[in-house]
Symmetry: D2
Subunit: 252 residues, 4 copies
Amino acid sequence: MTNAQVTLIQIDNYGPWTVTPEPRREVDLQTLQSRLYADLSQLVGNREGYVFFTRFDNMIAVTNGMDETDHAMIQESVGNRYPVTVSFGVGADPRPVEALSTATEHIQDAGSAQEADRTEILRGTCLDPDERTDDDVQIAHFDVNDATGKYTDEMNAFDSFIHIEQGYAELMRYFRRAHGGLAFFVGGDNVIAVSPDLDAAAYEDTIQHVQEAVEVELKVGVGQAATPQSAGMAAKHALEDCREDGDRVVID
Amino acid sequence: MTNAQVTLIQIDNYGPWTVTPEPRREVDLQTLQSRLYADLSQLVGNREGYVFFTRFDNMIAVTNGMDETDHAMIQESVGNRYPVTVSFGVGADPRPVEALSTATEHIQDAGSAQEADRTEILRGTCLDPDERTDDDVQIAHFDVNDATGKYTDEMNAFDSFIHIEQGYAELMRYFRRAHGGLAFFVGGDNVIAVSPDLDAAAYEDTIQHVQEAVEVELKVGVGQAATPQSAGMAAKHALEDCREDGDRVVID
Amino acid sequence: MTNAQVTLIQIDNYGPWTVTPEPRREVDLQTLQSRLYADLSQLVGNREGYVFFTRFDNMIAVTNGMDETDHAMIQESVGNRYPVTVSFGVGADPRPVEALSTATEHIQDAGSAQEADRTEILRGTCLDPDERTDDDVQIAHFDVNDATGKYTDEMNAFDSFIHIEQGYAELMRYFRRAHGGLAFFVGGDNVIAVSPDLDAAAYEDTIQHVQEAVEVELKVGVGQAATPQSAGMAAKHALEDCREDGDRVVID
Amino acid sequence: MTNAQVTLIQIDNYGPWTVTPEPRREVDLQTLQSRLYADLSQLVGNREGYVFFTRFDNMIAVTNGMDETDHAMIQESVGNRYPVTVSFGVGADPRPVEALSTATEHIQDAGSAQEADRTEILRGTCLDPDERTDDDVQIAHFDVNDATGKYTDEMNAFDSFIHIEQGYAELMRYFRRAHGGLAFFVGGDNVIAVSPDLDAAAYEDTIQHVQEAVEVELKVGVGQAATPQSAGMAAKHALEDCREDGDRVVID
């Protein structure tokens, strides 16, 4: 049984900040956002978790293995180094989408994302060490079959991106609705998903659906472990097995 | 008349590198990609240009005002600081999508994105100073009406993202097909587009289409100038005017 | 009794790399060095350790609480994100200078700092969990009395720096020779030292010596704990007590 | 004739900020300082200038070729991305030390480095384009003869550092007093100096003095150009010539 611990990371009052006292230069906003994401990746990654950039002002992390103190330390570190602060909501559930809903409610209950005095919220409950098991986190790593040969080396870079984006968008929507998992584009032709306890048939179904809906062919490697890091690395190795053997789904 | 200079930035042989000798830790890849993007944002932004992260392994930049020497210097700086190198293709055209096609062909002609010995390509022709005019670059800055009130503060963070992503995806596809512009998600509920010489009717049409297709309501500010930076800042101010006056389209 | 675990971090073959095939741009080298240091600070700091920049190509870390796996992970993370690699030597001893000597010998035994094929060395023995105690690390945080009033706001910025540097240099040399501690400039008018098990008299002696030798007046806060982070934070609070009470030495 | 334009960069009210409301974690301060320096290196370096880290809270830059607008843009970019702001004072003079004195006075006149409401000062006069000449900036790049063989591979890393530091400290003091130049440690065994219009004899004298005073043997390459970048690169090539030919001083 999975039991994903999901943390919603929200930059406090970010929209208003970007246009106060007048619009800030886009290059600086882009730099700020991507470096904040890189730092959070390292801060969470050094504690065996994964962060997905999502919208950049709202990021979603899988944080099994991290407790309240870890979250507080990361929040403090961001506040020490950036002109903005971040709020955290935490939830845990066998279905990642439910965990995220809980995490989101914790932040929403504390006030609006655009409320100047709602800052550095840290709410929700992290899993107790004795609640944790060795298969709490299932990670699936998808990529597009021969994306370089079919798209990158053939189409203009925007049309390649449209194709990959269509595959990713359909995957993201279908996987959430049909199977309760959270799928995130992570660059290139790669999507990483946090899944409930799914079997190969669920992944076959998902890949089949995306192919029929938008004609993008995917394959997927799946891993399961106590932490996102271990599950994710197992998923990567499973995806390498797909590549070598021509399989569409390999579960580690 | 617009005349966008577009640069395709491609990380050389990145896919194979990420799994050699075995899959590298995802946290490090995410950090590498987002910091490389941040650095390119600064390097190009300090020369009045804009970079969009797109797929991260392929990024698209608008570089009016930058010559071959600037491109070469940026390429060298990346090579001096990262374990990977980048190739650049450059094109210019009244229609951004044509400029990008030319830029892409320059890189594709030099070899595959996954060819180990095709590195640090720099091909294509930058605009001569005397070819440049004060209205070469049209930038449009879109955002979602009341995204915080309708989505961020109401839905779980993944479903908010799905809504915003659907709006962005439809905008990206339609705007490219119907009007020849290149639209990019830049975080939050924001999309920035590099446009050909469009008038208010084209933007009204685009917003109308997105609303009908996926029920996401957008507004847009538009600026035009000799460089992406100036056009983009004018677009931001125009978008602020939309906010204040309740307009859907403001052209600076 | 203290028992500092010290790690020497050496960039592999860095000198030759900076001039191959010809001298690289200084701005890129400076950026590379300072960001590598920042990343190591975070990677080690997230594991309760401290890194000092020293010469930047050779950095010295206090790593009580980190084991071989932690070191290997950090080494891998640097290799994944930089064009250079790093070697680590580890030693532990009641006297920090002896710990560092051991750490250095481990690296030197593996080959020269400028040998192209001596890369990613990881040698030495980390403290076993059951060898560790609550007072293994003594950290002293020095600063200059009224540096802003006497120097920064009065002299030109270079002459201020000469004064502070003289104080720091004398402190560094004397404290190593007379007391076996390792003192490092950390910016501003601050020096942080890793000390053996010293009492207030040793610090009084050190401050007295620096004042007589180069007329720079120091004060110091001292903390002791199981990890550099905790000892260092205690030292900072002790230094605040000095400021409030006008003391020259406060041991937490 | 040289005519160095020197900019003093001072973090506003930094000391108090680091301990408010209580001492901030050292790892975050170290990360903040070194990344701010890296960013300033890039921002100034992309405009052909050099920044030296000096004390990190006070940095010294050579900025020939940069005007007030460039300075203001960099100041704004720092403010957009950091929790601290910076002030700039600018001066120009045939003797770098005089230029720095002017730059420092501009900042000091505006208030103390620890005054909470003295922020983002930008004072002083940048060189007019028609005042600038092709030999305004003389840069000297020193290093220690066989530092790796004599120190790094032989002594413990702290004692190596003491030797190099002694050489650097003596060079810094003597070169300022005897010749009016500003010398800065830049990592490894390297020192880069901004010089007035000096000839080979002045450099011979400096190297001789350091050898007699502290027994550290230096060599130096010198370049002169309109910008720090070009002068510095010429100095690096001259230093390579020293290495190949066994010379102590090579002026490009």
